[in-house]
């Protein structure tokens, strides 16, 4: 297959750390070292809004709250230790849409590295160089409470990701490990440590439920990428949980902790020669895309169960620059080919955001 560049825009005057396409609406958000985020249209690739003035340092991460089509809500995480919550609203007088910086979430003691909303949107996870992962719950509109401070990692926590269905959180760290957390009978607890990467884990993503290769029988899967230059797949082999609430469990189980068993089931064919910074798992095709410090974008496909092959690769995808993020997104521009058409969005150190189409050769 072949990756072709569809568009390239100079989105920021400085490094773009992350791009996040909205799950259901035709725009994406960026996180940049210029201390701002931008909302960019996926219909015509124009910048719609700049969200600035909220953070004093680099915006490292952005995440869209699910199920908020009417009034989109964006979380930002910054090197200024804080997370921000932004909401789009319609000015009743002018009927113009604008963005409001609503809430600032303070508590971390060092740079924030990633923010992620749970599938239902009720929890926000944040992680930081202070070695902790925090879970925030939105009690009522714009009122967030810290429900967990998880300090199981021994180093800088680089990334967090939520399971697409279960209340299960994963984090990856500079200590080379991935940890899984669940809500126990009293508190959130680390239920599993995934060891296998030989250096920093930069990014994580669970397999989307809609992926054609997703199988409940086989179990959920997680993809991770690392400074050890590899991309790995982890598969759930067993779980017991407290499910919807400890109170419904037989008394003998009350107080026992939920359990998760996962194992590494694949290491994708090696394609990168420097740190792999980002991975994304397509909900349409089940393909995985990765990018990294070597400036490459690589697409992998599962030929047979847990047997992956490279189907496309572009070197120097952002010229001489390192690529910090890749993400699959629904395609919305005028040349889209059907409802299920997808693009890959990438972002890099010189402030550009590129858009790619994957075609049969």
């Amino acid at each position: 297959m072949k990756l072709t560049q569809l568009a390239s825009i100079a989105a920021h005057p400085d490094r773009v750390w992350q791009v996040a396409p909205h799950p259901t609406l035709p725009f994406l958000a960026t996180a940049s070292a210029d201390k701002s985020s931008k909302i960019i249209s996926l219909l015509n690739f124009n910048t719609l809004t700049t969200l600035d003035g909220g953070h004093k340092r680099t915006v490292r991460s952005v995440a869209w709250k699910p199920n908020t089509e009417d009034e989109p809500v964006l979380a930002t995480g910054s090197f200024d230790y804080n997370a921000g919550i932004w909401r789009q609203f319609e000015d009743e007088a002018t009927e113009k849409k604008d963005w409001q910086f609503l809430v600032i979430l303070e508590g971390h003691e060092s740079e924030m590295k990633r923010v992620a909303w749970s599938a239902g949107g009720s929890f926000l996870a944040t992680c930081s160089r202070d070695k902790s992962v925090w879970v925030w719950e939105e009690m009522d509109d714009d009122n967030f409470e810290t429900v967990a401070v998880l300090q199981d990692h021994t180093q800088d926590v680089k990334c967090v990701a939520w399971h697409p269905e279960d209340v299960l959180l994963a984090s990856g760290s500079y200590d080379n490990n991935i940890m899984l957390y669940k809500e126990g009978s009293d508190d959130w607890v680390c239920v599993k440590v995934l060891e296998g990467h030989e250096s920093t884990v930069w990014s994580l993503e669970f397999e989307p439920l809609k992926s054609p290769k997703y199988s409940e029988e086989r179990g959920s899967r997680l993809v991770s990428c690392s400074d050890d230059f590899t991309v790995k797949i982890w598969t759930r082999t067993e779980q017991t949980g407290l499910g919807s609430g400890g109170g419904q469990l037989p008394s003998i189980l009350r107080g026992s902790q939920p359990k998760e068993e996962w194992e590494c089931t694949a290491t994708l064919p090696k394609a990168h020669s420097r740190s792999v910074y980002s991975v994304s798992w397509s909900k349409v095709t089940g393909r995985i895309v990765s990018c990294g410090g070597d400036g490459k974008i690589v697409v992998y496909e599962e030929a047979e169960d847990n047997e992956w092959k490279i189907v496309a690769e572009v070197g120097l995808a952002h010229g001489a620059y390192e690529i910090n993020c890749v993400a699959w997104s629904t395609r919305y521009d005028k040349d889209k080919r059907g409802e299920n058409d997808e693009i890959i969005i990438s972002s890099c150190d010189d402030g550009k955001v590129n858009f790619w189409v994957l075609d049969e050769e």
């Binding site: 400074d227 070197g315 120097l316 150190d349």
Partner: protein, 160 residues
Amino acid sequence: ASATPAYLYDPFAAVPDLDFSGDSEEDDETPEPIDSQEIFDLVATMCDPEHPITLGELAVVNLDHIWITDDDNGLTKTVRLEFTPTITHCHLATVIGLGLVVRLQQSLPPKYRIDVRCREGTHTTDAQLNKQLADKERVLSALENETLMGLVGKMIETCK
């Protein structure tokens, strides 16, 4: 000297002229590729963060410990510089490493990947130190730290 590499702020800024003296009579249109001597000259005049002595004089940087390799993609190059702290428990080794990264980032075009590492066995915590220096996110967030950048600025002041 400005502590912030122009590339980080304005990707469209012209690549600064590298003032490599020596080949004045040769006025080739295509510049010679940068060699390890030129890398050495860029960092040797930097100052130790604590003493008014240069990193070249202290043998913290050595010509023999600089390598430049072409990456497979045909465009980017990797500069590897291994430095030797003056003592194995030098508490400023991280600052020295960071200063070297900043100096090279400021001076070299974006196609150069810069790997600054503490030479193996020359510091009690060299493995830890090197993992930090290899971590882009940590290095870049350190560049936003004013205290640290003040120290780095002083190290670079003595260049030119």
